[in-house]
Symmetry: C2
Subunit: 132 residues, 2 copies
């Protein structure tokens, strides 16, 4: 594609439950293998960030979600040890489907995020999403 | 850089004046040569989106700005004829410096954005920034 090299574009999705838990996957690959993380991944060329967020949530957890709003853009160059990956974080609501791990997620469930070890800057993203 | 190809990451900056005008540059290159546009450009690897927004505003207009808040992320694949470029738009406040065109901007001034032809989806970005 034309244009200079830029950071890679990613999405993360915060899906709260009525009990205040958050939809998390347990990572089965490096980095942060074994840690919990928000569903998310790289945006594809030709796809909006909202579509990428819904696609990644469904691929990784089996749940269809409705995107509610943008929480923020997380762009600290050191936030991801794989390289400079900038994440657009979206708050979403679970619609339908059955919870099941898929693709690169080992396990998906609604968990109390304060009781698990979270990968990347996902503790901050969750705090921002639930605070506003 | 490792990882799959993603859309390119850009920033645009909305700097309103007290009179309700908006800081705009007149483009002297394709696409949209001769149209007005928000100051903005590609994010560099290793740079936060907020730093990129402040850098582009100063490079293109001579003004130092303080970033106030994220307005939105604009990711329609057809928004930029050069390719799939996703823009993080920031509202900012002018701090100091003298208005002057630089680098790829032919002319920089505070204009009534409803009275000029705007490039890309900048009419929508300005409306979103000033509405909220």
């Amino acid at each position: 594609m034309a244009g200079p090299e830029t950071p890679k574009l990613m999405v993360d999705v915060i899906v709260p439950s009525e009990e205040g838990h958050v939809l998390l996957i347990r990572r089965d690959t490096d980095p942060y293998e074994g840690y919990c993380a928000l569903p998310g991944g790289f945006v594809e060329v030709g796809e909006t960030v909202e579509a990428a967020a819904a696609r990644e949530a469904e691929e990784e957890t089996g749940l269809k979600v409705e995107i509610e709003r943008l929480v923020g853009v997380y762009s600290d160059p050191d936030r991801d040890p794989r390289g400079h990956n900038v994440s657009c974080a979206f708050l979403a609501r679970a619609q339908e489907g059955e919870l099941s791990a898929a693709t690169d997620a080992a396990e998906a469930s609604f968990l109390d995020s304060s009781e698990v070890e979270l990968a990347f800057d996902h503790e901050k993203i969750i705090a921002d999403a639930l605070a506003s």
